[in-house]
Symmetry: C2
Subunit: 164 residues, 2 copies
């Protein structure tokens, strides 16, 4: 199967959006990921993948812990930032802070988790990360308008998108 054919197929497979941040000692890095999912609640484990093409991957591979932000429509700009090449993703000091445990994080997203990388598995042109969740923070459970990435566009879920 050709790379283009697989890309064409998966262009139509939507996903939620996460932004992953870490600092392994060489400064903060951020990466937008459409590959995050929860695979186990006990123990609490997440999986995401990072492409060898991503500038943040070396620092993520070196990180012991990281922060995973789950992105709503109102923090859409953070998802765009983490997906834009050639920019300083931490240029605006009003957008981010550092947790007492040392990890950088963006302040706008209303849901985030902190976890420890427990497994890294090479798979083709990417690495699969398995993350054990240590703690989490959520501003408001009920008022989410999650962002969805689909066919190179951003969508937001709500009453209008609900299947009757």
């Amino acid at each position: 199967m050709s790379p283009d054919a697989l890309k064409a197929l998966f262009r139509n497979h939507p996903s939620g959006v996460a932004v992953i941040t870490a600092d392994s000692g060489t400064g903060p890095v951020a990466m937008t990921a459409s590959s995050l999912f929860s695979i186990s609640v006990a123990p609490p484990l997440l999986v995401f993948s990072a492409s060898v093409m991503s500038s943040s991957t070396p620092a993520l591979l070196a990180a012991e812990t990281l922060v995973i932000h789950l992105i709503d429509a109102d923090s859409h700009d953070i998802a765009v930032l983490g997906a834009t090449s050639g920019v300083d993703r931490f240029a605006d000091p009003d957008q981010w802070a550092i947790l007492p445990t040392g990890e950088p994080y963006y302040t706008a997203p209303r849901r985030r988790l902190r976890g420890r990388v427990v497994k890294k598995e090479d798979a083709g042109a990417a690495t699969l990360f398995v993350v054990h969740v240590i703690d989490s923070w959520q501003e408001d459970e009920d008022d989410a308008s999650p962002l969805v990435y689909h066919n190179r566009e951003w969508h937001v879920l709500g009453d209008v998108s609900r299947l009757a």
Copy 2:
């Protein structure tokens, strides 16, 4: 972190919907998965997870090859079928067929892939499958209305959900 807290967080992380079918010699099985993503296009690799709680997991673990359907709103009923416990998911002979290579598949979904399981990785209460895509079939690339699962409801993407 408690299982309930992790569930509450990820309830607001939307996902695309896939239905995975296989027959390892004990009859056809089907499972609806919200955990599918593409991690590499060269080689063409997909990842999904199967919970130890799912009735189909033993047969998927024994399968060498399987079929992955990417679900649109118009084959929503197949996603419901693959997520419903205690029913015969192949009771209706009009809904499915068998590929010349032996794998069962549902005929309604308009995009599907066939792949070989190249890696299985235990992670907590689930197994991660890495699948090398062998071939794929797509009815119509441009006319997709992909289904999204979010907060125990189904959504469909379209003009109304697009972020302005």
